[in-house]
Symmetry: C2
Subunit: 441 residues, 2 copies
């Protein structure tokens, strides 16, 4: 009889590794924040005695969802500007409001709102890109969620930094600040090819290499972006990044809506990771990422919500469903991106893209106990013929009841244990009033 | 001071008529199941004294959502077969399981499950198409939800009827049974051009004319359907229906994924209603309905979930969001199908398609009190800059707290008042066991 911290019995467990597997009446044993074993409930009774035992017979356990691209603090701008294309949305609404309001408080309050929403929806890890990543890191650390902080690099002055030198100085500082944190890591995050020069990209690449960081960038988001790049640089953005030697398994290329076949071959050859943000791409009419083809070409495809200002939620269960539905119509094949693949994109593939698949992304012994429990007993998810289908096509995020990150119980019967939801709401109302008032003047 | 039954104060009301309007701090006055007035809360205090008063300051009120195409009882087959195209799904999975299991009990239990789910998601009216419509009508009547029963007509024998004569005899009987019911109406429902002959369609048309019924049909669902029709009949299904004089404002044409420009002109000319079921169309890779173009051509476009066996939910809030997102990418215009239009499709346009827009579909004096209250205070819907945007792009159906149909309070703080949810779950489990067992043999 082995003594452990936590034992969770569940109606079903979908571990993601091995692929396309649903265990019935299984349990997960946890010690020191790590998974010790995933085994039949009958065996668990005999092998483990736990300090805390959960019996979740109506529940399905899955690995924590990984939001592979977001701008957490922008959740304060949810619904600020809708029903318009990316360029107008950015130039006329988002950038002006950011210029007027962004400071450390905005970032902290926005990140808390986002993390609360993500935890309530089963997201245990997010890959962020925004200003003041140190503030996002502090909030994430307090909340206990796993995060990759984007060390932002952009060629125009903001409240955060004045020029690429200052962005990179701050990047180094943030990287050093979180160097030893077990849950918080960093990635170099040049905003996009159209907003970062070759000189800045080269300097950023040196920094990323120094600390062995992933590079997180918006790439081929719209056809307009590509056309303007061709006009200005004489080449498509992906070609430019290739010449700068930025294509590698360390690159996290977000959006990729406009891709030639030869570009897909290049992505595959260099092992580039693609993050698909279908709802943001649809809402801004940016374009569609050909994930069925990318998948077939062996490219690692992860999923992200993008920011709540363009989505308008941070719902990875919903994103998974949208990705599966959209892939079917684009490929004219209803068997394309089946439920098991969609779930893999939202978990293990995200971990791979972020370079943390040795730690999270699936429920196997040795990995961190990043676990989501979903109540399957409500009528909206009944009857259950196949829990995997049900998860992707019928479960809403309101059915997420419990979330653990590295074994810590951060959502307990839908109550957040590390964040003050009343305080988050109060601050959110204050920001809404302030931002609305400034818009009317 | 006017004495009335019910007065609901709300933080916001979106009445749909007039279009694109959000009232803040408004109230709805209800008497004898009908809306007496929609007015500022300050005025309501002075003008009305009500037997029951609700103060929903954190809530948004909208007209009840209208699910303009579904197969309610098929909810018992949710998740039974996924990730495959329409033809395989129908021929190899759905039709065999229907043949083996459909009887009056299946229909009743499935309809209860569906109605419970719809009410919990803010749906107050559904347009059904399935076998044993009398049973669906009885269940809907007991539940108090508004329904249009599809008087099914199909050229093959089922547990319900053996040939088109028997289908039409039963149709007449069901129409007579519900003739005087204030909430239940009927529509003639020939399944699809590929499953109903000209002779049957002509006979059905006569019956529809006799009782002035709408005609509800699957039309142009897939390219395969059209190709096979051209091979068999030498013409596209829409052309065939035109020759049979079936195109009129009484026609409810569901799916319409493959349309030529001249066909859109024909639809507009004849005033045909189109029901768009985006999630089912995506999931089965059936095709995409060009709703932006239809809207521009002045065609009435409503929304439906289709059955839960191909969706896999009956979530009209989600369907509205998917319709708006999909329309933007298809038309390459992020301003296409803005939030106000999406909401109109899910409410007033549905009522128009079903011929009941004098009764429901918007919150104006004289119409039935078919009302949905949505709690906007949770973090997932904060901050609120524009409640209309928030409704379409951020609200999940779990935020629906209260639903009234014809003034009756059918969902009360998320509890169903006219349905026994425990009994529904028990019956659903039994059907799952029975159907799963028969599949394994």
């Amino acid at each position: 009889m082995q003594h452990i911290d936590t034992l969770i019995y569940a109606g079903w467990i979908i571990p993601v590794e091995p692929e396309n597997t649903v265990h019935e009446q299984y349990a997960i044993a946890i010690q020191d924040g790590k998974i010790v074993a995933v085994l039949p409930s009958d065996d668990a009774v005999r092998h483990f005695s736990a300090r805390i035992t959960y019996r979740l017979n109506n529940h399905l356990l899955i690995p924590g969802l990984i939001n592979a691209h977001t701008h957490a603090s922008m959740t304060l701008l949810r619904g600020f500007a809708d029903d318009m294309p990316l360029e107008k949305w950015l130039n006329e609404y988002i950038w002006p409001v950011e210029k007027a309001h962004i400071d450390r408080n905005f970032i902290a309050d926005g990140a808390k709102l986002a993390i609360a929403e993500m935890l309530r929806g089963g997201v245990t890890c997010f890959n962020d890109m925004y200003f003041f990543p140190d503030v996002v890191g502090e909030v994430a650390n307090q909340a206990g969620i796993r995060a990759i902080l984007g060390l932002i690099l952009i060629d125009f002055p903001t409240a955060y930094a004045q020029d690429s030198n200052e962005y990179l100085q701050k990047a180094r500082k943030v990287q050093e600040q979180f160097n030893d944190n077990p849950l918080i890591q960093t990635a170099l995050a040049p905003h996009a090819p159209y907003s970062v020069s070759d000189i800045s990209l080269k300097a950023g690449k040196l920094l990323a290499e120094e600390f062995d960081l992933p590079i997180h960038i918006h790439l081929h988001e719209t056809l307009t972006e590509i056309k303007e790049a061709v006009k200005k640089d004489g080449e498509r953005p992906l070609t430019r990044l290739r010449k700068l030697n930025l294509l590698s398994p360390k690159l996290i290329a977000v959006h990729m809506t406009t891709l030639k076949n030869e570009e897909m071959a290049i992505l595959a050859k260099h092992g580039v990771n693609v993050v698909h943000c279908p709802e943001s791409n649809l809402k801004l009419a940016s374009g569609t990422c050909p994930i069925s083809k990318l998948q077939q070409a062996g490219i690692n495809v992860a999923l992200g919500t993008d920011g709540a200002a363009s989505n308008d939620d941070l719902d990875m269960l919903g994103e998974m469903r949208t990705a599966a539905l959209l892939a079917k119509i684009l490929s004219k094949d209803a068997s394309s991106i089946p439920a098991s693949t969609a779930l893999q994109m939202a978990t293990l593939n995200g971990a791979k893209a972020l370079g943390i698949d040795d730690v999270t992304g699936s429920l196997i012994a040795g990995k961190s106990a990043d676990i989501v429990a979903i109540d399957m007993s409500d009528i909206e998810t009944q009857p259950i013929y196949n829990p995997l289908s049900q998860l992707v096509y019928a479960v809403g995020r309101d059915k997420v009841t419990d979330v653990w990150v590295a074994g810590k119980h951060l959502l307990k019967s839908r109550t957040l244990t590390s964040l003050d939801i009343h305080d988050i709401k109060t601050k959110t109302h204050l920001w809404r009033d302030k931002i609305s008032a400034s818009r009317q003047t």
